[in-house]
Each structure stands twice: as C-alpha cells, then as structure tokens.
C-alpha cells in the first residue's frame, strides 16, 4: 500500500446528500482523477490511493489523510479521528457524517450554503469547490482581513463566502431529510488533565511510537531546520525507524545561513543523508504563485519553502514536519507579566503585523482589518481565557491551524505524503499533562532529546546563534522580488488598499519594507489577494475591495 500511496497525494472530494455525482466527477477530475470508494444516495467519496475503506455493517466508511494510514483502521469515525488524525465519511443508510481529524491540521473544505437539495460538497482543496460552485462566488472579506492581520482566516472561514474549513474534531451530519447539524463539541485536547508528576518520558514514548508506526509503513524523510522540533524528528527518524532517513533543508530567507549550517551539523551527527536545496533568485515570482495555489490562497506564510517542495515531487518517502512542536512542547507564545490584559496581549502577538501597518496600507484598511480580526479573535480566545494552556490553544487556533498548517498540508502534501507527529493525539495529551510552567522557553527539549542523541542537546540552535545584524540579502527583499510585488500590488483593485506613499515609492523603498518582517507579511498577503483575484476573475466578475476599506 505504502509504495502505491507514496507516489503522489491528489486528495479527496465527495458529497453528502444530493444523489447526483455530476459535481463530484468534475471535482475529481480537477484533482487529477481519483477513484470512487463510496457511491450511495446518502454520500459519495473519491480519493487517492492513501484512503482506506472500512465496513462496519450497516455503515460504510472511508478514511483519508495525506499521512500514510494502516489498512486495519478502527471501525469508528471518532477513533479514526483520534488515533490517526484522519478525515472520514461514514454512510449509514440515509444518514451520512463527516468527521474532521483531531488536530484540524489537514484542511478539509466544505460548502455549506448550497440550495435545498444540493447536498453538502466537500474537498481536500478549496479550488475544485470554487470552480464547480453553482452559487455566486463572493470574497469573504473577514477572511481576507484575518489573512492580512494574522496570517490565515479565523473561525474556519475561507477566502470564499459560504465555503468553510473543518475545525478540529468537527462533525457534520446530514439526515435522510437533508437537514445538517454541525458540531465540534467535546474536542478532547481541551480536557487533558495536568499532573504535577508528569514528565517528558511519555512525550518521548508517544513521539517514538508515532514515528515508528510511520516507518513501518514505508520510507521516511524529514524537514530539518536549525531549531529543536525538526532536530527531535530527525533524531527519531534516525534512531527509531529501521529505514534510511533523508533530511531536507532550504533557506528560510531570514538573512542568515545558520539554519542550513546547524541542520548540516545535526544531520552529520545523526549519520543521515542531508540534502540542501538552494533557492533561485530568478524563480521568486513562480515560487510565490506556486505557493499560493498550493495553499488555496489561504495564507502567505512559507513562500520560502517552495524550492524544497518542488524537489520533493516524485520522492516516495513520507515527509515529517515539526508542526505544533513549538506550541505543545516548546511553550511558544507565552503570556508576559505586564499589566496588559491577556486577551490584548494574545491579540497583539497574533496580529503583530499591524504594528506600523500604515506604512503599507491605507489607514482605513488598517482600522477595518483590525476591527474584523479582533471580533473573530475574541470569539475564539474568550472562551479559552481561563484554560491553563489558554495562550497555547489561542495561538494554535488563530495562527498554527489557519496559516502554518498549510505549509505541510497544502504545499508539501501536494508533492509527497506528510506526517506531523507533534500534533498526534498521544503526543499532545502527554505534553499537555505537563504543567505549563515546565514548557517555558523550550525547557523540555533537551530532556526529550537526550536519550536518543545526547551530543545534540549541547548544540545551539540557529536562533540562538543568529547575530543581530543579518547580512545575507534575502530573496524576498531582492530587487527582482520587490519589482514583482510592486507590479502585483499596483494593479487594481488592490492598489486602492495601499498607503499613498507606497504607491509612489521607488524600488529601494519597497526593498526596505520587504526587509522588515511585519511589512513583508502585509505585502505578501496583498500579493496573495492580487493573485487570487486574478485566478478567479472569471467567476468573481467585477470585484471591489470596499469590504476592506470600511465601505461595505
């Protein structure tokens, strides 16, 4: 199974209700042609070779994930979601149910505003849903505000009004009458009990089991940067699996090559093959376009990862990514001890790109996207405010899932199978059992790593060694990239969103803004909007951007 599965991840699509497969057929073709695994009146599903069909009479079900799955799955959608973080469609007579995975990291897009009798259509990519949509395609300006301010659409929104992304542990049920119910109640991660006696050993054991199971299904490779999470995964791959492991690194384009150098040191210490992918300056424009298409225009993070993703096309190993490690193990995004209310602190961290945003955006746009983003942010963060891991879950739901998760489960998964062991259920549960204070400043990493590779415990990370002045020219702020961004952003209607000074600025000024992380994020996100408007011009018609100017 694994060798067949590993050639390419195409995705999955299907319907609940509707009965006609006409739209499912078109979506399947847009995904590259995938096989039919369920075809019943209550539901249909097409999926790539990674899907697993299971029957628990009278139910028929298919589970799917970009991560290789074993053939003998539990015969229950909840168990599959928890133990394998996989999506399932379960058809039971005239009723059908979609189960999202427990982490929510794998995007599954659902169209919920169909006309009566249209059913509910879903897909692992948003593009086939948009291109086959029978209702008007309208931008969701809240989602675009979130992308600009925080990096990705909050609350399960997408760039298109009416199409949603499944939240963690979310289920959608359609009964025989066509009525749907949606719930994500009972997400188990919120109820993990903290134990004063909990240590890092169960985290290590859970990681080892997750990576061991992956290795048992086929070849494994890993992304390797200069940080802790990928170092842990590389060590696991080298020590736990019996298959040869390859580590892949590319420039994160932050003005230093310490990521590459530290990664080389780690790979050599572990005795694993290391492949270093050097980005090409003359391909920046193509890479930007490749990225935003791969992630369905939901985020502009991780454009720098594209050269590596291109090289992974055609490889057969499942690629491990450290998604979630920094949050659930490393204690990232902690609250500080200032007098600033915690919700304001947390919003400030997620929407830090708005600091100084008037240099890039029209002041009305800054006001509007701040307002729209804060409203959605509060709907997520307020119910969590008293949770012991409130800052962790807030960051996970407002940054990791909407934006970061699309690097592995959008960009990389379009090239090869992907696995993210740090967000497997057992690992998260073990990590959350450890009191929050013990996570602070990455304190758990050395003990997590020590039994596998004690020599790597002492090796400083790239971030620790990075000098204050970063002297390498970033590709994203190069003359070529700046000219490309300027051409995209000065095109109507995106031009209306810009600060007046930026419209008239010379190339050096654009380069200087792109050299600043916050301004760069805004420019990248506006470019994503420009490319999205260009891509869907045929279905969007004449679109104005009044929604972001506070005029709608």
């Amino acid at each position: 199974m694994s060798s067949e599965r590993s050639r390419r991840t195409f995705g999955m699509c299907g319907r609940m209700g509707a009965e006609s497969n006409q739209r499912v057929d078109v979506m399947s073709n847009l995904l590259g042609g995938i096989r039919s695994l369920i075809d019943q009146p209550a539901g249909a599903l097409r999926a790539d070779a990674g899907a697993v069909r299971w029957v628990s009479s009278p139910r028929t079900a298919v589970s799917w994930s970009p991560t290789p799955l074993p053939q003998n799955l539990p015969q229950d959608g909840f168990d599959v979601a928890a133990r394998h973080d996989a999506f399932s469609l379960v058809v039971d007579g005239l009723q059908a149910r979609l189960h999202g995975g427990i982490s929510g990291a794998v995007p599954v897009y659902v169209e919920l505003d169909g006309a009566p009798g249209d059913g509910v259509h879903f897909c692992s990519r948003a593009d086939p849903l948009i291109r086959t949509r029978t209702r008007t395609v309208r931008p969701d300006w809240d989602a675009w505000a979130h992308i600009l301010a925080a990096g990705g659409p909050l609350e399960g929104r997408t760039t298109v009004d009416g199409i949603r992304r499944l939240l963690p542990w979310e289920r959608i049920t359609m009964d025989g009458s066509g009525a749907t119910t949606i719930t994500s109640e009972g997400w188990p991660w919120l109820d993990v009990e903290i134990s004063g006696n909990a240590g890092v050993d169960p985290v290590r054991d859970a990681l080892a089991e997750a990576v061991g199971q992956l290795g048992a299904l086929g070849e494994v490779s890993t992304l390797l940067s200069g940080g802790w999470d990928s170092r842990v995964l590389a060590a696991l791959g080298a020590r736990v699996t019996t298959v040869p492991v390859t580590a892949w690194t590319t420039s994160s384009d932050t003005g230093t090559v310490l990521e590459e150098l530290v990664a080389a040191k780690v790979a050599e210490t572990l005795g694993i093959e290391h492949k270093l992918v050097h980005p090409r300056r003359d391909q920046f424009g193509q890479d930007l376009d490749h990225f935003v298409r791969s992630v369905d225009y939901q985020t502009s993070f991780h454009v720098w990862l594209v050269p590596l993703a291109r090289r992974l096309v055609g490889t057969s190993a499942a690629v491990m990514d450290g998604l979630g490690g920094g949050l659930f193990v490393g204690g990232a995004f902690p609250d500080d001890e200032s007098d600033v209310p915690v919700l304001d602190q947390r919003f400030g961290r997620m929407a830090r790109y708005l600091h100084g945003a008037e240099q890039i955006l029209d002041p009305r746009v800054v006001h509007e996207i701040r307002h729209r983003t804060r409203e959605s942010f509060d709907s997520i963060a307020k119910p969590l405010v008293d949770h012991p891991f409130a800052s962790t879950f807030t960051a996970y739901l407002t940054r990791t899932l909407p934006g970061i998760s699309l690097a592995p489960y959008g960009l990389v998964s379009a090239a090869a199978p992907v696995a993210t062991p740090f967000v497997s259920d057992a690992v998260v549960r073990a990590a959350l059992a450890i009191p929050p204070a013990q996570h602070a400043e990455g304190q758990l990493y050395p003990e997590l790593l020590r039994p596998w590779t004690p020599e790597l415990v002492e090796l400083p990370t790239a971030a620790e060694q990075t000098p204050r002045i970063r002297r390498h020219q970033r590709r994203v702020s190069s003359p070529e990239a700046a000219a490309h961004f300027r051409e995209l952003l000065l095109t109507e209607p995106v031009r209306q969103l810009l600060a007046r000074e930026l419209v008239d600025a010379d190339l050096d000024t654009w380069m200087r803004h792109l050299d600043n992380t916050r301004s760069q994020h805004l420019i990248r996100s506006l470019a994503t909007l420009a490319l999205w408007l260009r891509r869907y011009a045929h279905v969007l018609g004449d679109v104005n951007v009044d929604g972001l100017l506070g005029r709608a």
Partner: protein, 179 residues
C-alpha cells in the same frame, strides 16, 4: 602552507587557512573573523571542500556568527550545485557562463566577475568585492538600530547570557517559525 594570523590590514583569507587553525586549536580566533574581512571559499573545481561536513561546518558557522562575508570561488557551474554554495554570501568566477548562471541563481549584485579564481591572485580583485559587501551592510541599517556606543556593551552582555545559560534549561527562541 602553515596557517597564519592575518594582520589587521589583511583583507581576506582562504577557508583552508581557517580550517587548519580550527583543527589545531578547536576554534577560529575571533580576531580573524571580521565583517570587513572576506573569507574565500574555493569551489570543488578549485580543490575546495564542496560538502558541508566536519570542520567546514564549524568554521563557516563561526564566520556567519561573526558576520564575515564568504565568497565562493566557482570555476564550473557544478560548483554552484554543491552544498557549500548554498551558504556563501557572494560568488566570484572567471568564466562568463558560470557568472551568468550564478546571476540567475544568486542575483546580479551577489556575483562578481574576476580575472582568476586562484586565491593567490585575489589581491587583484578583492577591493570591489569588499566594497560590495560594505555597501550591502550599509543598505539595511535598520537591522541594528542600537546606538554605536551601545553595541559593544550589548555584545558583551549577550556573550555572558549565552555562557550563563545551562544546556539543561533548554533554549529560548527555539520555536521561531520563519514565515
């Protein structure tokens, strides 16, 4: 050739010299590594290491931390494919086809045409390369907004902080995602 200690007026040295020093002492002296002193990195065609392994990684890490500009001496297009090429800040070549390809990959401003990539003849062309490195450093002054008088103090403080941090306690900023 025995390793040597560059005089303050020496404008460059070759990676091999630093490697010899490193293998003897376990470190490259801090006074070797300066933002204005160029480190010449011969490509494989010129007998350089090509691979990123062993002491090469350690020495290049020290160069990077110190801000020393590295220049790959590329004799063939294949030199641009070697892992070591991915961590050099500039490329110099005496072959037009290599220069052209390097400019596509690295960008115009990071690639220099030289008369010869023999390190012994670097004196003839090192001036413009150093000047370009200084220009690039000045181009982004916002990256270090500390007043000049504060920088040495801050450097000392950061050194103390690094040494004081026990490896048992883990390290901060380990999670930062490049975006």
């Amino acid at each position: 050739m025995a390793y040597y200690l560059p005089h303050p007026l020496v404008k460059w040295f070759v990676l091999d010299d630093a490697l010899r020093r490193y293998e003897r002492r376990g470190t490259v002296p801090r006074r070797w590594l300066r933002p204005e002193r160029v480190v010449l990195v011969p490509g494989r065609a010129a007998g350089g290491p090509g691979q990123l392994s062993g002491a090469v990684v350690d020495v290049l890490t020290e160069c990077e931390v110190a801000g020393a500009p590295t220049v790959l001496l590329a004799g063939e297009i294949d030199d641009l494919d070697a892992p070591i090429a991915a961590v050099c800040r500039y490329v110099a070549s005496d072959r037009p086809e290599v220069v052209e390809e390097a400019r596509h990959r690295y960008g115009q401003e990071r690639v220099h045409t030289v008369d010869s990539i023999e390190a012994a003849r670097a004196r003839a062309w090192i001036g413009p390369v150093r000047a370009a490195a200084e220009r690039d450093a000045r181009r982004h002054p916002r990256r270090d907004r500390r007043p000049g008088w504060l920088r040495p103090l801050r450097t000392v403080y950061e050194g103390i902080r690094r040494r004081a941090r026990s490896p048992e306690r883990g390290r901060s900023r380990s999670h930062i995602n490049a975006e």
